[in-house]
């Protein structure tokens, strides 16, 4: 992460307070999270305190402050999914990964998240696993998805070494 990266992100913007959220979104898009260094750089650019920036960033659920794992799992907790059993699906992910929503596994492979509603209610309970939508999730599928991703990942790392 160099100064140039930040300059790229800040380009086209005027440096007004109203740019804060769009900048945070650009940084997160680029790095997957908001590094501490980024908050310093933004503070200089926008001429507002780091405190204020962190205050805004931590208010919104979109922004993360730790690097996410390789594969992000989003379990939809919308009402339609809830009445179709999404809580059990989430429990099952927690049981297999030994983490709570918002956390990342020690091997940095999986990050578990919950989302309020993906708006694809006909497919509930729905899970976004590594960017792919999996509708009408069955409990057993949780294990299958995790094991499949793990073994594919091992194969890849074997191929590299």
């Amino acid at each position: 992460m160099t100064n140039k990266d930040y300059l790229d992100i800040f380009s086209e913007l005027k440096g007004e307070e109203g740019d804060l959220i769009p900048i945070l979104q650009r940084i997160q898009e680029k790095f997957g999270y908001i590094p501490a260094e980024a908050i310093k750089q933004m503070s200089r650019f926008l001429k507002i305190s780091e405190n204020q920036i962190f205050g805004v960033a931590s208010f919104y659920s979109q922004f993360k402050f730790v690097e996410p794992g390789q594969c992000t799992i989003k379990v939809c907790m919308g009402t339609a999914c809830h009445v179709r059993g999404s809580q059990s699906v989430l429990e099952e992910f927690k049981r297999w990964l030994h983490i709570e929503p918002g956390q990342t596994t020690d091997d940095k492979l999986f990050t578990l998240e919950t989302v309020n509603c993906l708006g694809a209610c006909a497919l509930g309970p729905i899970v976004v696993f590594d960017g792919d939508y999996h509708g009408q999730m069955r409990i057993k599928e949780v294990e299958e998805l995790i094991q499949k991703y793990r073994s594919e990942n091992e194969k890849e790392s074997d191929a590299v070494t």
């Binding site: 979104q25 208010f59 339609a80 009445v83 708006g119 209610c121 939508y133 057993k140 294990e143």
Partner: protein, 637 residues
């Protein structure tokens, strides 16, 4: 004549597009809404293109990816025009058959047709399907006909004609009078008369004014705004330009949730195309009226849907609400007068201008005019988006359009409640299903219209658990400004947790009611004022369920995990091993054809075995869920 308007190029585009869309030329449309998209609609379009090329007929057939058709349950949806033949759950392997049979040989592929739930007959045309034929699709109507990424499609279907009419023939005051006469009320939930809002903004003197489209659709289980933005973004943009002209605004924002990537993409494309066609910019259609719109992506806070919070978010602050008055129409974004309307409200505007206030005000009830889009989800057969005239009854929506309650294979399930208005709304029981839907009747029932989420629940849904779910949601999303909402909702969730765990007592119900009243009356914004609604309505209509939880530690819907246990009934178990194969923890064991054993210490109560056992016609109810608080002969499940 009010303004000089140069709309000649629009006429040309329309003439050209209409010629290209000759009435008899077959057109394959594939639904590209998020529901179908996630089931592979985009791949499907590619396969269709490939197939028509292979069969050498690409010149004589159009292929179009369209906006959301609304019938998400049956996706991916393919409709063949001009006949309007409706194919459901279309797979890649069906493509070749559709092209050779329907397009080339003009024959219908029976197996892909929708089968009516009641008569079990196959239905050919989209408009004959009960899900569609009882709707009145004004806002959603064009979704299935146009490619949302192509402005030509929108223009071909009279798009931007209302704008031309407004700029050429109407003064801003006349536009406001027309909207007022139509009786349109805000579709975001509160139902404030739109014309009145505009009038107030117009009469505030200021050098700069703004319009905002509120597309921060945070209610879980509601997705109509997403569908309109994704499927017909130009209708929203046209509405906003008309609104901006009426109030005298020079800039607009579309505030859209970040969880809707496809909507963001389509809106951005649409804005670019509108600018290219002179519909936005320094002089809209050469009239001298200056206006432009930009997109602002929300960052995932439910409270941002409240108008003053939304503006704080655009200004780069935490979305905290502030007291009103002054209303945004007087002091809004950056202190300037601002009109904020919901997506659906904006999308209604062009239709009202085009067809007139008189036409519009004939639809609906005395105090609620026009149509409303609902997202019908939960334990219902036809999940999807429905647009119905105000005044239709809940029963018509749920049974006639929605096809009734989803049965689980051979077990027929009973309706229990319908939840409207999202986390701010309430649960309405069966005996109130004949209630005509409008802003006022729903409020009387203790619920609200809200943005239009409609979640159907059956007997397997525990009402205490549902109340806990919603309170948990509002508790997490409370911005923290007002203590009654910040602290009170936490207390309510704790009490509800206790009740669902079998640790509650009767005094807890009274405590809930007290807390609910305090939070309602002492919170600043709509989030806090309505947060207790799910608890209050479930207490009002399903009090007995709460009492069973606290007195007998019994959950009649067998949902609350601490109150139930799973058992295998030895006389019924056939030893088919289906439950063994689905059990994620290995709690059920047993060789084939012998009695299976369920180890309660390993069981995580995920319901997988119960559901698979019910699929089996022979074993049937070999696995039961029993209430810990009841003796064997009192068991119902």
């Amino acid at each position: 004549m009010k303004n000089q308007v140069n709309a000649k190029h629009l006429e040309e585009i329309r003439a050209e597009a209409l010629q290209a869309r000759s009435a008899n030329k077959p057109c394959i449309t594939v639904c590209g809404g998020t529901g179908c998209h996630t089931q592979g609609a985009e791949v499907l379009v590619g396969v269709f293109r490939e197939e028509v090329r292979k069969q050498g007929i690409e010149e004589s057939v159009d292929i179009r990816i369209t906006g959301c058709h609304g019938f998400c349950e049956r996706g991916p949806i393919v409709v063949i025009h001009p006949e309007g033949i409706f194919y459901e759950k279309t797979k890649i392997k069906d493509v070749a058959t559709i092209v050779s049979e329907t397009i080339v040989n003009k024959r219908i592929v029976e197996t892909l047709l929708y089968r009516d739930l009641k008569t079990k007959k196959r239905i050919v045309r989209e408009k004959d399907i009960p899900f569609y034929n009882q709707q009145k699709r004004i806002v959603l109507g064009n979704n299935g006909l146009i490619d949302p990424t192509d402005i030509q499609d929108y223009i071909a279907l009279n798009g931007y004609q209302a704008l031309v009419k407004v700029l050429r023939d109407m003064t801003p005051e006349e536009v406001i009078a027309e909207i007022k006469a139509s009786g349109l009320r805000g579709r975001g939930g509160a139902g404030f008369p739109t014309g009145k809002k505009w009038e107030s903004c117009r009469s505030t003197v200021s050098d700069t004014k703004y319009v905002i489209c509120n597309a921060d659709e945070g209610d879980p289980g509601a997705f109509m705004d997403r569908s309109v933005l994704e499927g017909n973004p130009h209708s929203v943009i046209e509405g906003m330009i008309i609104g901006a002209y009426a109030i005298g605004a020079s800039a607009g924002f579309i505030y859209v949730r970040t969880e809707y990537p496809l909507a963001v993409k389509h809106v951005k494309i649409a804005l670019r195309q509108a600018r290219e066609h002179g519909l936005l910019g320094e002089s809209v259609l050469g009239s001298g009226f200056q206006f432009d719109i930009c997109v602002f992506q929300g960052a995932g806070a439910f409270v941002s849907g409240e108008e003053t919070s939304l503006m704080a978010s655009i200004e780069g602050r935490r979305s905290f609400p502030r007291p009103r008055p002054p209303f945004p129409t007087q002091v809004g974004l950056w202190g300037k007068p601002t009109t904020i309307n919901n997506v659906e409200t904006w999308a209604n505007i062009p239709h009202i201008i085009e067809k007139g206030a008189e036409w519009y005000s004939k639809i609906g009830t005395d105090n609620s005019k026009g149509t409303k889009i609902f997202s019908l989800v939960g334990k219902i057969n036809n999940t999807g988006l429905v647009e119905v005239p105000m005044g239709i009854t809940l029963r018509q929506v749920i049974y006639d359009i929605g096809g009734g309650i989803k049965s689980e294979k051979r077990i027929k399930k009973k309706f229990k409640a319908v939840q409207t208005g999202g986390p701010s709304g309430g649960c309405i029981p069966e005996n109130m299903l004949d209630l005509p839907i409008d802003y006022d009747t729903l409020a009387k029932a203790g619920s609200i219209m809200g943005s239009g989420g409609m979640i159907v629940m059956d007997e397997d849904t525990c009402m205490v658990d549902v109340a806990r779910y919603f309170l948990n949601f509002t508790q997490e999303e409370s911005c923290g400004k007002c203590s009654p909402c910040r602290i009170g909702t936490v207390q309510m969730v704790e009490i509800l947790n206790r009740i669902t765990q079998g640790k509650g007592d009767e005094a807890d119900i009274e405590r809930l009611e007290n807390l609910a009243q305090t939070i309602k009356t002492h919170s600043l914004c709509g989030l806090g004022q309505t947060a207790p609604n799910p608890v209050l309505t479930t207490l009002r209509y399903f009090r007995s369920e709460y009492l069973l939880h606290v007195k007998e530690k019994h959950c009649p819907a067998s949902v609350c995990k601490e109150l139930i246990e799973y058992r295998v009934i030895p006389e019924k178990c056939t030893g088919c091993q289906r439950c063994v194969s689905v059990c994620p923890t290995g709690a059920i064991t047993g060789p084939r054809a012998q009695l299976h054993n369920l180890d309660p210490s390993k069981c995580i109560k995920c319901r997988a075995c119960y559901e698979i056992c019910h699929f089996d016609a022979i074993a049937g109810d070999a696995i039961i869920i029993r209430s810990k608080g009841r003796s064997a002969d009192e068991q119902t499940k």
